[in-house]
């Protein structure tokens, strides 16, 4: 079966659809389905795709590339800083422990020290693709186990950069590296080895700088055109571009993409990029898993079953032990520790990269490479199976299941409010909610305003809210209230329709430009309609707060206070600056300045705090002070 692209595509898709459906029907993770599909259609079973020894993985790696780009996007530097202790602590212990023990084991079994070191590097890595996919599928991302796994995987994803950088130092320089190399043209190949390491680090730095000063401005330009496909194109361009550059210098494209993601995670395009790439990612990741399945080389297994089997078992046991100990260091509960132990005990996709790179540098021999590649693929295949055993046999016996519900410390935090549109109507709502300590998640399609709101510390997403995928990344699934404050009733209608059918539990509160818009909303069975003005925007906001448990009478007073206060500031600001009849952009900028000023004033004055009438607590506190 030769390289007819259409035929191969059909085989892949059909294999995926059949096997994953069966896996899901049996309650197994989709990863296992993909892997089995790969084994079935691969060269050693049905032989539909790939010839023996051919590198099927190469193209499929794009799934991993995108996954890492998206993971990178998730990691805002400030969150990263918050998690630094677990990341470095757990990740460090895991990687160091695994490397150390496996290094001596491989030495003990008679491997050369360079080979042993390379192997131990590979073994220390786990599969981000498999582990995260499974964790997400089960919705465990926010458990202790989820964040621990994430930290460890993250540490590995970063440390692998240094591993790849270090490998050339181990290379056997006496043999020319060229004959082994099947890689693409590598600009650095002819440089001295020390310089190669340096070059790799420099290229990493290049991505960081380019991301900030090249990509973000480019995205802003693209966003201004308002053509949605262009943003998809730009997103893909970023991923492909970074990958290409990284390959050019002989580095893993996945790592480049990860870095690119981190760089962009602070930009306002975070969620737009995320929701655009998500569908591609899942499918390509599936393709990657299938390729892993297909690359299990049964000939190598048949040739030396004992070696392969021995290393396989040793690796999994060793990794599991180290993970278990790491979990103990960080005082995880037993069930969380077991989940961690069994879900990260495989060798990861970066091992493919690392090992192939080592092979091209002549550190490894063909046979050693083959064996480790098979072991890697096998560990990845076994992980979901071990996971099932853990979940169905071990956990029910040992379970101290983490309670999902935690008491919320403040009402405002227990409910999520999404506010779409931050124009003159929406901004009043946003301000009023904020003065009551409620931070709504804001969506707006004006990238200037988004930029400004982020500076003011709001959680803001840029994009077209009628796209459910964007709403999803803004957290509509966990939201209780969706406020539609855009001025175009047609857009609101579209959004409301989508949300009503897909998330019927979310309470819709909509702005109606006029009577006719209100008629239409009423006919759509939307109960909470606000015909626009300063008062109605505040009425809407106060009803949001009432839903969250604030007292109605208090809110009634606050609304009136807010209006009085807003009118005061209106008069003040009117005196201060004349808004001229300049062009539109100038006006828009003025409006932003205005909003900024208002938000700052709200904050400084703390207008809500003044309302302390009938406050028993105060009297009690005063009496206690005086000790009467």
């Amino acid at each position: 079966m030769t390289g007819n692209i259409l035929f191969e595509a059909i085989v892949f898709l059909l294999g995926a659809i059949i096997c994953v459906s069966i896996a899901k029907r049996l309650g197994l993770s989709s990863v296992l389905g993909y892997l089995l599909a790969g084994v079935l259609i691969g060269p050693y079973v049905l032989g539909f795709i790939g010839n023996e020894g051919e590198d099927i993985l190469h193209f499929a790696e794009f799934g991993v590339v995108m996954m890492l780009f998206l993971i990178g996007l998730e990691i805002e530097p400030k969150n990263f800083w918050k998690m630094r202790k677990t990341i470095v602590g757990m990740g460090g212990i895991q990687v160091a422990g695994t490397m150390l023990i496996s290094y001596f084991l491989f030495l003990f079994f008679g491997f050369d020290w360079k080979v042993a070191l390379t192997f131990s590097m590979a073994v220390a890595l786990s599969s981000t693709a498999i582990a995260l996919q499974t964790i997400k599928e089960k919705g465990l991302l926010n458990t202790t186990f989820g964040t621990s796994s994430f930290s460890i995987l993250l540490f590995q994803d970063i440390i692998v950069i240094f591993m790849l950088g270090a490998l050339p130092l181990l290379a056997n320089t006496d043999i020319t590296p060229l004959e082994n190399s099947e890689e693409h043209t590598n600009l650095l190949q002819n440089l001295p080895l020390g310089l190669q390491t340096l070059a790799i680090l420099v290229s990493v730095a290049t991505i960081v700088v380019a991301g900030r000063f090249l990509i973000v401005p480019l995205l802003r330009k693209v966003a201004k055109t308002g053509v949605r496909e262009l943003l998809i194109a730009a997103a893909l361009l970023i991923v492909f571009g970074i990958s290409f550059l990284m390959e050019l210098v002989g580095l893993s494209p996945a790592l480049g993409a990860f870095l690119g993601g981190v760089v962009l995670s602070n930009s306002e395009f975070k969620h737009e990029l995320e929701s655009t790439l998500e569908p591609f990612k899942n499918l390509l990741l599936g393709l990657f898993f299938m390729a892993v399945g297909a690359s299990i080389n049964f000939i190598v297994i048949a040739k030396s079953p004992l070696t392969v089997g021995g290393i396989l078992v040793a690796v999994i046991v060793l990794k599991a032990l180290v993970l278990f100990v790491t979990g103990s260091f960080f005082k995880l509960k037993l069930n969380q520790k077991l989940l961690l132990t069994f879900s990260l005990s495989q060798i990861g996709e970066f091992a493919f990269v690392l090992l192939s790179f080592a092979f091209s540098l002549n550190i490894l021999e063909q046979e050693q490479l083959d064996i480790m590649l098979v072991v890697t693929a096998l560990t990845m295949t076994i992980t979901p199976i071990i996971g099932i055993i853990n979940e169905r046999v071990l956990l029910p016996r040992l379970g101290t299941r983490e309670s999902i519900k935690r008491p919320m410390d403040h009402i405002a935090k227990s409910q999520k409010v999404i506010l779409v549109g931050f124009g003159h109507f929406g901004s009043t709502i946003g301000r009023f909610l904020r003065t009551h300590g409620v931070e709504a998640t804001i969506l707006d399609h004006d990238s200037n305003r988004v930029d400004f709101l982020r500076k003011m510390g709001f959680e803001v997403y840029y994009g077209d809210a009628t796209r459910t995928d964007l709403l999803e990344s803004a957290g509509i699934a966990e939201a209780n209230i969706l406020i539609c404050a855009m001025d175009n009733p047609e857009v609101i209608k579209q959004l409301a329709k989508a949300v009503k059918s897909k998330y019927p539990k979310v309470k819709l509160m909509v702005r109606a430009r006029d009577r006719y818009a209100a008629y239409e909303f009423l006919n759509m069975e939307i109960d909470h309609i606000y015909r626009e003005s300063l008062e109605t925007s505040l009425k809407l906001a106060s009803e949001v707060l009432s839903q969250m448990g604030f007292r109605k009478y208090t809110l009634q007073r606050q609304v009136q206070n807010f209006i009085r206060y807003d009118e005061d500031s209106l008069k003040r600001l009117a005196k201060e600056k004349k808004i001229g009849d300049e062009n539109y952009i100038f006006k828009a900028r003025k409006e932003l300045e205005q909003q900024e000023k208002l938000l700052e004033q709200d904050f400084k004055r703390g207008i809500v705090e003044f309302d302390t009438h009938w406050d028993g607590e105060q009297i009690r506190a005063a009496l206690e002070d005086k000790n009467i």
Binding site: K552, Y553, G616
Partner: protein, 197 residues
């Protein structure tokens, strides 16, 4: 089996320790309709017809409120002014409330010692409650001595919970119609023997 309407009135319920403890205890009980006036009418625009219907559907009306400036909070006064209409609640044809029971449940910041001839406030609670008593009389309702939780500025949580237990028991007695008619000679319903057994 009697129905109880609790007309609850507190402009800053969210900050009231005593009333939270009391209200939490009884608001979901069978036979009790807990009607939070400030939550229902933040704009003071009382829906008179709806309120009349509520009154008609219940046998015992509890006016549950903090004691502000020797009286009830303004919305409750507003409610009384608007709902208890001539020709319905009183007057020649006004007999809608006949023989229903009226009970004030109040919290006061000051202690009992402050509410007496020699105290800061010179008069007893029951003296201050006269307007309520006479309103009940005029409407042909049977006025019960108040249930009072006093000294809330200083009282401990534990004590407040004990009061809440009493309140709870009192509601049971009222529902069973077991509060004897001759309670008129005691100052506070807190003191009836059934609550202190």
């Amino acid at each position: 089996m009697k129905n109880i309407l609790v007309l609850f009135s507190h402009p800053k319920f969210e900050k009231s320790r005593a009333n939270s403890i009391l209200a939490d205890k009884i608001k979901d009980k069978v036979g009790v309709t807990f009607h939070d006036l400030y939550e229902r009418y933040p704009d003071f625009n009382v829906d008179v017809d709806a309120e009349k219907e509520l009154m008609e559907a219940h046998d015992i009306i509890i006016f549950h409120h903090p004691f502000y400036w020797y009286s009830c909070p303004p919305l409750m006064k507003q409610w009384i002014d608007m709902v208890l209409e001539f020709g319905w609640a009183y007057g020649p044809a006004g007999n809608a409330l006949l023989d229903k029971k009226w009970l004030n449940v109040i919290t006061t910041g000051g202690s009992k010692a402050m509410y007496c001839e020699n105290g800061t406030n010179c008069y007893a609670i029951n003296d201050f409650l006269r307007p309520f008593q006479q309103t009940a009389n005029l409407c042909g309702m049977r006025y019960l001595p108040p249930f009072a939780v006093m000294n809330t500025h200083k009282i401990e949580d534990k004590k407040l919970h004990a009061y809440a237990e009493q309140y709870d028991k009192l509601i049971d007695l009222l529902v069973e119609d077991a509060v004897v008619a001759e309670v008129g000679n005691i100052s506070f319903l807190n003191d009836i023997p059934q609550l202190n057994a």
